[in-house]
Symmetry: C2
Subunit: 230 residues, 2 copies
C-alpha cells in the first residue's frame, strides 16, 4: 500500500542541519576526518559521531580507518548528484541563506569540486565551450557536440573510455561562489586530470585550492580565451 521507497528516511537523514553541513562539506570530494566534520558542522565530537554513524548506516557516506582517525567521504557520485540537485533547488526557491562562497581569492579562482574544477576558472571554461557550441544545453543537462568531440580529442582525451563510464559524460554543476554552472561529469573530471598531467594545474595539498602554473595560464588564455589576472 505504501507508495514510495524510503525517500523519507533518506531525506530526513539530510534534513538535520548538522548532517547537511557535513554532507555539504564532503561535496568537495575529499575525505574528511570525523573531527573536521564535527568542526564543520559546529557540534561536539560525540554528536558528530552519532550523525556520522547514521549517515553511514543510511549508505550516504563511507568511512575508512587510517591510523587513529577515520576518513569519511560521500558513498558515491550519485549521492553528490542528489546533493547538488538539492542545492540547485534551494537556489531557485530562494532558500539560500547568505551563501557568499569562499572568501579566499585563491579558492574563488580555482578549486576542486568533488573531482572536477570549480571556481571562476571552471565557470569560464564552460562559458568558453558553450560560446563555441562545443557543449550545448543549460543548467544541469549538457551535451557534447561533434565540434566538442574533436576538441577534447585534440586535447589528448580518450572519448571512448569516457563515454563508457556509468556516470554522465557532461553535467552542469552549480558553482556556489558565482552562482553559475561549471563542467562536471566524466568529462569534467578527465579535463582536470589532464590539466594536472600537462603541468597546467596543481592541487595544493590539504586544501581544495588548485593553483595554475604560468604555462597553464598561458594555455588557458590561448585555448579557452580565458584571461585571468595573476
Amino acid at each position: 500500500m505504501k507508495v514510495g521507497p524510503d525517500i523519507a528516511t533518506l531525506a530526513a537523514l539530510m534534513g538535520d542541519p548538522a548532517r547537511a553541513n557535513m554532507l555539504a562539506a564532503l561535496c568537495a570530494g575529499q575525505a574528511l576526518t570525523a573531527g573536521e566534520l564535527a568542526r564543520e558542522a559546529g557540534v561536539t565530537a560525540q554528536t558528530a559521531s552519532s550523525h556520522l554513524g547514521k549517515l553511514s548506516a543510511g549508505g550516504l557516506i563511507a568511512g575508512r580507518k587510517q591510523g587513529r582517525h577515520v576518513y569519511y567521504a560521500l558513498a558515491g557520485p550519485d549521492v553528490a548528484g542528489v546533493l547538488e540537485a538539492l542545492t540547485g533547488l534551494a537556489e531557485r526557491t530562494g532558500h539560500t541563506r547568505l551563501r557568499t562562497g569562499p572568501r579566499e581569492p585563491a579558492l574563488r579562482r580555482a578549486r576542486v569540486c568533488y573531482d572536477h574544477l570549480a571556481g571562476d576558472m571552471g565557470v569560464a571554461i564552460l562559458d568558453s565551450l558553450t560560446a563555441r557550441s562545443m557543449i550545448v544545453g543549460s543548467g544541469e543537462t549538457l551535451v557534447l557536440s561533434a565540434a566538442g568531440e574533436t576538441f577534447i580529442t585534440a586535447l589528448g582525451l580518450d572519448l571512448g573510455a569516457l563515454s563508457a563510464q556509468r556516470r554522465p559524460l557532461c553535467k552542469g554543476c552549480l558553482d556556489w561562489s558565482v552562482r553559475r554552472s561549471h563542467l562536471a561529469g566524466a568529462l569534467g573530471a578527465a579535463l582536470l586530470q589532464r590539466f594536472y598531467a600537462l603541468g597546467w594545474a596543481r592541487r595544493e595539498s590539504g586544501t581544495r585550492i588548485v593553483s595554475l602554473s604560468a604555462r597553464g595560464l598561458e594555455a588557458f588564455r590561448e585555448i579557452f580565451g580565458v584571461a585571468v589576472e595573476a
Copy 2:
C-alpha cells in the same frame, strides 16, 4: 561562515513520512486535493493541512483553489527531478521497503508518470530505443543519437522545439513497479502527447491509467517491436 544553502530545511521538508508520501503521490504529475493527499499519507485532514502549508511555504508545491477544494501540485519539474533522484538513490542503497508498485494490472501496464508514459509499456519503449542505439546511456542520463533523431522526426515530432525547452530532452525515470527506467524529459512528454494525437493511447479520466487502442497496440508492435497481451 555557513557553507551550504538550506539543503537542511528543504530535505527536512521531504524527510517526514507523511510529507514524503504526499510528494510521492504528486510525482504522478496530476494535482490532488488536500483530502486526497491526506488519505494518501494516512493522516487526518488537519495534519495534512499543516504539512501542505509547510510544503507550500517551502516552495515545493503550489496550491490552486478551485471551488471548495484546493488542488496541490509539485511546484515544478525540478522538484520532481530531485524526488526522482532521491528515489533512485533509495533504490540503490536498498532503502526501499517492499514497494510493489500498483496492484491494478491496467496501472502496471501503462500509466502517466508526471507528464510521460510509465509502466511496462514505458519501460518496453525505452528498452526498444536503447536496443537499437537510438538512445544511449543508462540510469538517469540519456542522450539521443543521430539515428534516434531521424526516428523521432519520422514520428512527426519537432526536434528543434523540443531541444529549445529548458528541461533535459531525454531523462531516465525509475519505474516503481518494474524497478527499471522509462523515458522522461521533454522527449518523453512529447512522445506521450503524440500517442494521444495519433489515437494510439487515451488517458482514463480521474485515474493515471493510459489505455491503448487496438490501433495503438498494432503500432507499438510494429514500431517498437513491443508485444503486449491484450
